[in-house]
């Protein structure tokens, strides 16, 4: 339970209206069923209902709350929109959930191409305001409904990353409350009130915020962030359709999707390399056949009707390249880029397909909710930014590995995942999604998640899912080397009591130690108990 003295202090910080220990309200913050990681053993075993909910309005309140947590040893979890079903929620008993939705400050600076957001602001709001002013932002795969800040410090890749680059490059002046309550302002905010610049002074402490992905809420609370916006072309994207079947109509003279059927996987990859080399396009990707079924189906039943007609043979011969062209400067730019694109794909035997000129996913809606309807649960079991070659090879290897885990995973006929070009071909981004029915036994899904991490290590693949997403003592020695030692040293320095979303970044290690169906897969060494941070057994908490 949260001590009475602490309750009084929390109430004095935010007022009675914005703090509660009411079990009914706390129950409302139970994770899932939300689709992402839904119904996995990890969720069942690790997630706890918070014992208190607090909603601060400003940074000073966040600092005061963290300070009380440190005084009374109360574990706390920052929460914005909770996209990461299981990982967004408390993993230990008696935790305080700090819901940041009231922190919804928002400013946009058209002249200097940036927006300043608080954690309660979601992409849908930001993109709408940016588009109105001739700018746009990259909406991550989590969708328009996710918190901008949470996405920027944890993930943030989208097809627009082809031009925009890695998400963390767009983080500018940032304010955060460190896990122990200390305040940190990054970039120009370190010295002045203007957050227009992200670096320095001197070594760039934005390096603490994340790596390929972030801390999942276990390294303090970002309370304000300025992010870069990009200038867009001048014509409007017109909304059409009736919810939930909505889309944006593209002005084809300025914005255009082009679908191209390539003869084989190699030519598709080569085309992606060549497009980057020619420096054209605004997004370039390989589309899995599976997406087509999702796009065409209007219901779960219809999806299965379409999908069950597919075959391994058809998957292996389906090589669809999808390119987004944006004429930022003039319609002549569109003509030029279309001409170059046509040249490249024609040389490689590609054939342009009739392409619907609407967008459902990548400008505003990012309709990720549609992606899990067919099964009920899904997760990106891996995502990586390395070369395009790496993207293709890793997808092939994951597809092979997955065969051993299907079912319970959804049959996908050997689909090799999707990949896209990143930073104009300097990198390739690949993502491997898996789907399952949460009503079935999902132990093998948990096992596949772990096996994918081991496969990366065996094959020397890179992955964004290092840090808290996989067992830290498994991946630590294999990357860096021993990156986990630095990660843990930083955690220990800034959160000596490990109160900020425990047991991250060791949550997955603990899960594997305690889940009976995972124990047999543990074949790596870890430090002795004296060195390792130990938390009360999640099993004993359940008991």
């Amino acid at each position: 339970m949260i001590p009475k003295e602490a309750i009084k202090e929390f109430e004095s910080i935010v007022g009675n209206e914005y703090f509660t220990v009411d079990p009914v309200i706390c129950e409302g913050y139970r994770g899932g069923p939300g689709g992402y990681e839904c119904g996995l053993g990890y969720e069942k075993m690790m997630v706890r209902i918070p014992k208190g909910i607090i909603l601060p309005r400003q940074t000073s309140e966040v600092r005061a709350i963290v300070s009380v947590c440190y005084q009374y040893d109360i574990p706390y979890v920052p929460y914005s929109t909770g996209f990461y079903g299981a990982k967004s929620h408390p993993h230990v008993e008696n935790a305080l959930l700090i819901d940041l939705k009231r922190m919804n400050g928002f400013e946009i600076d058209e002249r200097h191409l940036l927006a300043v957001v608080e954690p309660g602001i979601i992409y849908s709001q930001l993109q709408e305001e940016a588009l109105r002013r001739g700018m746009y932002v990259s909406v991550g795969g989590g969708g328009g409904q996710v918190s901008v800040i949470a996405n920027m410090i944890n993930d943030g890749t989208s097809p627009h990353s082809y031009r925009f680059g890695l998400a963390q490059r767009r983080i500018l002046g940032t304010e955060m409350v460190l896990p122990d309550g200390d305040l940190l302002r990054l970039g120009s905010l370190a010295i002045q009130e203007d957050p227009f610049w992200g670096e320095g002074p001197g070594p760039d402490l934005r390096g603490l915020l994340r790596g390929g992905t972030g801390w999942r809420g276990s390294f303090g609370i970002v309370t304000k962030m300025a992010i870069k916006l990009m200038p867009f072309q001048p014509e409007a994207l017109r909304p059409e359709g009736v919810s939930p079947q909505t889309s944006l109509r593209l002005p084809q003279n300025r914005v255009k999707w082009v679908n191209i059927r390539m003869p084989d996987h190699m030519s598709l990859k080569k085309a992606v390399y060549e497009i980057g080399k020619a420096e054209i396009g605004a997004a370039v990707m390989k589309v899995p056949l599976f997406w087509r079924a999702v796009a065409r189906a209007k219901s779960k039943e219809e999806f299965w009707e379409i999908w069950s007609k597919e075959s391994e043979e058809r998957i292996q011969s389906f090589h669809l390249l999808r390119v987004l062209l944006i004429a930022y400067g003039s319609e002549d730019q569109m003509k030029y880029e279309e001409r170059v694109l046509t040249d490249i794909v024609t040389e490689l035997g590609g054939q342009a397909q009739r392409t619907k000129q609407t967008d459902e996913s990548w400008f505003k809606n990012a309709d990720s909710a549609g992606m899990w309807l067919m099964c009920g649960g899904y997760i990106s079991v891996d995502y990586i930014s390395e070369t395009l070659d790496h993207a293709v090879s890793q997808g092939e290897r994951m597809a092979d590995l997955k065969r051993n885990f299907t079912p319970p995973l959804m049959p996908d006929y050997g689909e090799r995942g999707w990949f896209q070009s990143l930073e104009m071909g300097h990198q390739g981004y690949s993502e491997y999604l898996i789907y399952w029915d949460p009503e079935e036994n999902t132990e093998r899904v948990d096992q596949f998640y772990l096996e994918s991490a081991k496969e990366n290590i065996r094959r020397r693949f890179y992955t964004a899912l290092l840090g808290p997403n996989q067992p830290l003592y498994l991946t630590g020695p294999a990357y860096g080397r021993d990156y986990h030692q630095w990660l843990l040293a930083i955690k220990n320095e800034f959160d000596p009591k490990w109160l900020c979303h425990p047991p991250f970044p060791l949550a997955h290690d603990q899960f594997i130690d305690e889940a009976e169906w995972m124990k047999t897969l543990k074949d790596w060494k870890e430090p002795g108990l004296k060195e390792r941070k130990v938390f009360p057994s999640v099993k004993s908490q359940t008991d």
């Binding site: 002249r111 010295i191 002074p201 070594p203 760039d204 603490l208 790596g211 930073e423 300097h426 693949f461």
Partner: protein, 481 residues
């Protein structure tokens, strides 16, 4: 001396230097900052040798100052607390050129002069700062976040995965170069991010205080097939900046920046006397480029955009296709932009009076006029000729921000002039700081006043530094350490 005796056991005399002349050489640079001798200099040739030095230094509490080249303008390698200078200039190999993935892997001592030449032979280029000194280290300039002249690519930063020897002597690889067995792996090290944290960010702007980088992967691009350069004389800098903002939002141009009259004269050897008083104070240079396919078409539509803008809102501007009275052809000027300065003896920042003290920071373009006024007024008050100040404005990220640089040329052999220069520089730092300038990489004495304004940042920086370098042996006395 004990240090040299000990190090002689690790390295032969061909790698260890401690004679007074050599120590004098390493005690100073081209900056205004006071000299200070190291105890010795060790020339390392690989990561293992760096490990030996760091482990020895750690065991004996001896400061270590990494130095990747012998050309420094800001005092960053003057050993303020003595100790060992770790000279990395012999680590200057190009380890890989990977054309498919548009990257090179280079050692830390490789210079702009050597790299730009190697890449040009392959039809490639690395994005470069404005005419870098040919003997400066590429990796160090990228770590120090030297701004590049080509800002058309939104993804910007060139650094990718790299190798660092931490102060405790452990070798670590960042980003996707962190996989076991690299470079013998499918991973090529193109992703700078991770593992777990963005370690590379902690190494940037650190002036060697966080560890010793040994090699890095760097993005390269293809050289354009065709270029066209425009020179746009500008009298009112705020109008020029407004024009620039509009063209950059249209994604027009590759290299693009403003130089003032003084810097145009120094870089392009232009004789302004011939041009009389009508010479405008600023010139905007913009290069339009076409790539492998239909290069003319790309240049044509970009040029149309430029001309339409001038015909419309900016009729007072002229799009000149030549720089008057310039001894170089337009093609040569474009080539120069993609190469290091050709001769170290005539480096443009040193050709007027040998010495150059640069004051630079990041700001919003709308503040440029204000800062120019402030700095010119301070210079006049200090008896410095206003017309002798070189100025360079580099737009960044569609001109949402800019790098503003003032170059004060002075005679380093003239004591009173040098002293006056130091005072003017300090005054200018303080005044610009008060007016909102953001110094992303503070050097020397200026860092003290800058860090005084950032107590929270300094507190966290020191906590992080203590994790990686608990004895504060890496370049002590630098930044806020």
């Amino acid at each position: 001396m004990r240090i040299t005796e000990d190090i002689l056991k690790l390295f032969g005399p061909e790698q260890l230097y401690y004679n007074p002349q050599t120590l004098d050489h390493y005690s100073k640079d081209y900056s205004l900052f006071p000299s200070k001798r190291p105890d010795c200099v060790v020339k390392a040739r690989n990561a293992e040798e760096i490990q030996h030095v760091l482990k020895y230094a750690g065991s004996n509490g001896i400061p270590v100052v990494p130095s990747s080249s012998r050309v420094h303008f800001y005092g960053g390698t003057i050993p303020q607390k003595g100790g060992i200078v770790l000279d990395l200039t012999e680590m200057d190999r190009v380890l890989e050129i990977d054309e498919l993935n548009r990257r090179v892997r280079i050692e830390v001592g490789l210079t702009w002069g050597k790299l730009s030449k190697r890449l040009e032979e392959k039809g490639l280029r690395v994005m470069m700062p404005l005419y870098p000194h040919p003997l400066r280290s590429v990796v160090t300039d990228l770590l120090e976040r030297e701004v590049i002249t080509n800002t058309v690519y939104e993804y910007g930063e060139s650094l990718q995965g790299m190798e660092v020897v931490w102060p405790n002597g452990e070798v670590f690889r960042t980003g996707s170069a962190s996989v076991e067995g690299y470079p013998e792996s499918i991973c090529k090290g193109v992703n700078p991010s991770g593992p777990g944290l963005d370690f590379y960010r902690l190494l940037q702007g650190a002036q060697g205080t966080m560890g010793v980088v040994t090699w890095a992967n760097v993005k390269v691009e293809y050289l354009p097939k065709m270029d066209k350069i425009f020179f746009i004389p500008v009298s009112n800098i705020s109008r020029g900046i407004e024009f620039l903002s509009q063209i950059m939002r249209l994604r027009v141009g590759q290299e693009c920046f403003f130089l003032n009259r003084m810097n145009i004269a120094l870089i392009f050897d232009v004789d302004f006397k011939k041009r009389g008083e009508r010479v405008p104070p600023w010139t905007l240079l913009i290069v339009l480029s076409g790539f492998q396919r239909y290069p003319e078409e790309k240049i044509r539509y970009e040029e149309d955009l430029l001309r339409n803008l001038v015909k419309g809102e900016f009729q007072e501007l002229l799009l000149l296709e030549e720089l008057p009275n310039c001894p170089f052809s337009n093609l040569e000027i474009v080539r120069m932009l993609r190469r290091a300065w050709p001769d170290p003896l005539t480096y443009w920042k040193q050709r007027y009076k040998k010495g150059c003290q640069s004051l630079f920071f990041v700001t919003k373009p709308s503040y440029v006029e204000k800062f120019v006024g402030i700095v010119e007024a301070l210079a006049i008050q200090s008896g410095y000729k206003k017309g002798d100040i070189g100025m360079y404005i580099q737009p960044i990220e569609q001109n949402r921000a800019c790098h503003l640089e003032f170059n004060f040329y002075y005679d380093p052999e003239n004591g009173p002039e040098k002293e006056g220069m130091a005072q003017l520089y300090q005054k200018a730092v303080l005044r610009c700081l008060n007016e909102g300038a953001h110094f992303t990489r503070p050097y020397g004495e200026a860092s003290r006043v800058i860090y005084e304004r950032a107590p929270e940042y300094v507190r966290t920086l020191k906590r992080v530094k203590a994790i990686f370098d608990p004895q504060n042996l890496m370049n002590p006395g630098r930044l806020c350490f």
